[in-house]
Subunit: 507 residues, 2 copies
């Protein structure tokens, strides 16, 4: 402790973490609730795994990003690490519970990456993921189509997102086929795939330079790749690729394209096609994907990167192994994407030798939160709490008792009825103080007690914030014994009025 | 990796942690939801703090239990530890945000203690706490009374708990006064307080032995303490103590008793008194309490401890500093309590020098979960998911197409209407398979598609599990274009039928 009882360290949360409070946490809870509702609509069940896993479980799953894993100190006993994502713990769970052959599971929880934080971009060391994954053997592309339907429902359920998101999609087998056709050596495919994945942030020239100079790819091979990865568009891209003889002649590409054809047929039924962009430059960094891969981007979520910046970054990355350096190109997350996922048929088998095919999606809620908040207009007021009624005492002067017992009794009656209620924790509060407290909390209703009125078994109900001249501006007297019914009636009336107002406003 | 792709380590969660899945996680979510609703009813707002804090924040807050704190490995940068409870992070938050002078905050999150796990008793290394705390300067005992009202609403809202819980309550100032009166030296008060706290698990003889032999207390002083800590009962205990001249003459005890008198008056209004047991043997281990302290116990939650067991444990504890030994007497949690809390007016000031008085409660959800589960009878079936409708294809044989596109289209229509819907991800599923899938998920409604019926614009709606002879046992045909409305009408009808059935059953 320092002097004056102050501690001699800076009072803060650890680097890359933050407290969530006030209307921020209310809005984030609303986003969780929208997402959870969609997950449940599709039969999702939740699983809650521990925040840390045995270190061996995470080992060998994240490639060079393993250096970002948070380890627990060795205090004797098992060696553990904080989870890096929700996918590997899910695969561990499936491998461990051999009786489970299929499941639709969702998981909303925090994950941990000892990355260089960039708060303004919404990149933190502790952040939430909302994952939905389907495990099990089914007829081709049916679970994949449903995951993308979930993406549509989530973004169309969030305020300000309808029509403002794009699902970029590709297929690992198509990509692998293209690399084969272009003549990429087998042992360089993953490396070249990672380079291609940077095309959403870096210009082709920079990616080509990386392939040729850093990864040692033949420059004619790189140029061939350049022709393919430019392809981008709707369902017709699949047809165009299948019409190219060298592509149709490659087994891997052909299988991937046939799966994409089926998927597009299903997405047409589900109304998802308009949001889809088949994009040959999408590669996704993680090794474990084996089929479709996708990322959701939105207006303004992809930062513009100048060529100079990109070149600078490219150089930096080449040399750096320091996890505290800027990693704007984090391939596991993709700056600019608000959700990402794909099919991974081999991960569960890595743990148990029992392969269970899986496909899933992870929503980056912290980023979705920032964008949603920016899109909401001032009229969409978020209340800090949900209190419906503030119970007040009317009176003042020497004889004023404060009516504390009476306020408590009314509050008890309302709580018993499940009505969210507060009153001021003061023996003799001023009326103005009570109104101020109600207004600060945005509480819509006041129940006002007066000595004389109570003696006649009556209390006053007043809707807050009514305009001058409104017939009930000053409130109405109701029987105390009928207070709960009277309030419920008024809550309902006010809700209907809001609907009417909205209809009028939008007409 | 071992042979056959199996890893060469045991596939499990770390010691003292578990996965939550299936109906367990559904029931736990219901408990969270009941608790959250009560918290919001009283104006609570939530705050989400990071899972780890700077180690200095936790230092010096938990006495000898500090050895149970999980540290993160030093990987360069700040030194952090996993949170041990939600109270210290809350105090850190208040101290850090100097503009916040008052708040009602709730927080439902996991905490971490490197304790010896005892799964059967519900003692884990990772477990949930549900905390509600009120910070701010208010008139005496009003926030304290509201916290205890919250306790009542939570337990009466949980299935099987009404009338089956007791709130044990005491006051630090009364206890300190009693120790002074008995002649406990000032520097031994906290130590003797901890010994007294064990009376819920150990017999008086054992606690007396600890005080005299281990803590070096004069045996006549111990015997005097024995007389006071036997006192237990309702509101009359306060009156009895105030009638004892030596108690009324002690400033600390008098102040505590006067506060208890006010509290009892308020709890009478709130209907909480019947559940209250004023208990002079309740001491609570944590140093930071300064006023009322309470613990909630329930039938069967307090394990019977034989004298021999207690003596054995007493001896063990005396010697042990090993965190991996059995610590059934963990004073921070109290085996047998399902919720605990109290007033702590000094904790925030430890961080900032700005004292903010606080009072709060922490619900031990994992233990509440185990007891609730044991109390629920078999008729209270918990469904693993919430799906309302299973869309099926009727047919078979060579010409059967499987009606996949048609099933997808109906599912899309229902999802668009917000109805939770599944279908089997197979091109040509057998009807029996589809019924089995619906039954496994406990799905209450089937929509059955047949080629001929579809051509007439019709589909069949069938409520699952109707008894033989019921007029709608075989389902009813409805217009496909009116499916959503027809289903909504039937959902509502079925809900009302459940209410009628319950009324008949309980009459």
């Amino acid at each position: 402790m320092g002097k004056e009882g102050k501690p001699n360290f800076q009072l803060k949360t650890p680097k890359g973490t933050r407290d969530w409070a006030g209307t921020d946490v209310v809005l984030r809870e609303q986003i969780f609730s929208t997402i959870t509702e969609v997950f449940k609509r599709h039969g999702g069940v939740t699983i809650d795994t521990p925040v840390f896993e045995l270190r061996e479980v995470l080992a060998g799953k994240y490639g060079e990003d393993s250096k970002l894993i948070y380890d627990l100190a060795d205090q004797g006993g098992e060696i553990c690490s904080l989870r890096y994502d929700l996918t590997v713990p899910f695969a561990r769970y499936l491998a461990q519970n051999r009786d489970i052959q299929s499941i639709k599971r969702y998981h909303i929880a925090k994950v941990y990456r000892r990355d260089q934080p960039a708060m303004t971009k919404g990149r933190m060391r502790e952040f939430y993921q909302c994952d939905f994954d389907i495990a099990g053997v089914y007829d081709p592309m049916l679970p994949d189509a449903e995951v993308l339907r979930i993406v549509k429902e989530v973004f169309e359920g969030l305020p300000g997102w309808a029509g403002k998101y794009t699902i970029k999609i590709n297929h690992r087998k198509i990509l692998d086929g293209i690399f084969e056709i272009c003549g990429v050596p087998q042992d360089k495919i993953r490396m070249i795939s990672s380079a291609v994945d940077k095309l959403d942030k870096s210009p082709w020239e920079e990616v080509r330079r990386e392939m040729v100079e850093d990864k040692g790819l033949d420059s004619t091979v790189a140029d061939k790749i350049g022709e393919y990865v430019k392809l981008k568009g709707g369902r017709e891209i699949v047809t165009r690729l299948l019409e190219m003889p060298e592509v149709a002649g490659n087994a891997s590409a052909k299988q991937g394209l046939e799966e994409m054809e089926i998927l597009c047929k299903y997405l047409d039924i589900y109304g998802v096609l308009p949001a889809l962009s088949i994009d040959m430059s999408l590669a996704r960094g993680l090794d474990y994907y084996t089929g479709v891969i996708y990322e959701v981007v939105t207006e303004g979520s992809a930062p513009a990167v100048s060529k100079a910046d990109a070149a600078k970054k490219g150089k930096k990355e080449k040399k750096s192994t320091d996890p505290d350096e800027d990693r704007s190109n984090d391939p596991t997350l993709g700056v600019g994407s608000v959700a990402a996922g794909g099919r991974y048929d081999g991960l569960v088998g890595m743990f148990s030798g029992k392969p269970i095919p899986c496909v899933g999606i992870s929503f980056g809620v912290d980023r979705i939160f920032s964008i949603t908040k920016a899109r909401m207009d001032a009229s969409q007021i978020i209340r800090p709490n949900e209190v419906d009624v503030f119970v007040m005492a009317l009176g003042g002067g020497k004889d004023f008792t404060g009516l504390l017992a009476e306020r408590m009794e009314v509050a008890k009656t309302l709580w018993d009825a499940g009505i969210k209620t507060e009153f001021l924790w003061k023996q003799k509060p001023k009326l103005q103080q009570q109104f101020k407290a109600a207004e600060n909390g945005g509480v819509p209703w006041a129940v006002i007690l007066g000595q004389d009125e109570l003696e006649q078994g009556q209390v006053k109900v007043k809707q807050m914030g009514l305009p001058d001249g409104h017939p009930e501006k000053e409130g109405v007297m109701v029987q105390k014994s009928e207070l709960v019914q009277e309030l419920r009636k008024r809550f309902k009336g006010a809700e209907e009025q809001v609907l009417v107002d909205r209809t009028v406003a939008s007409a």
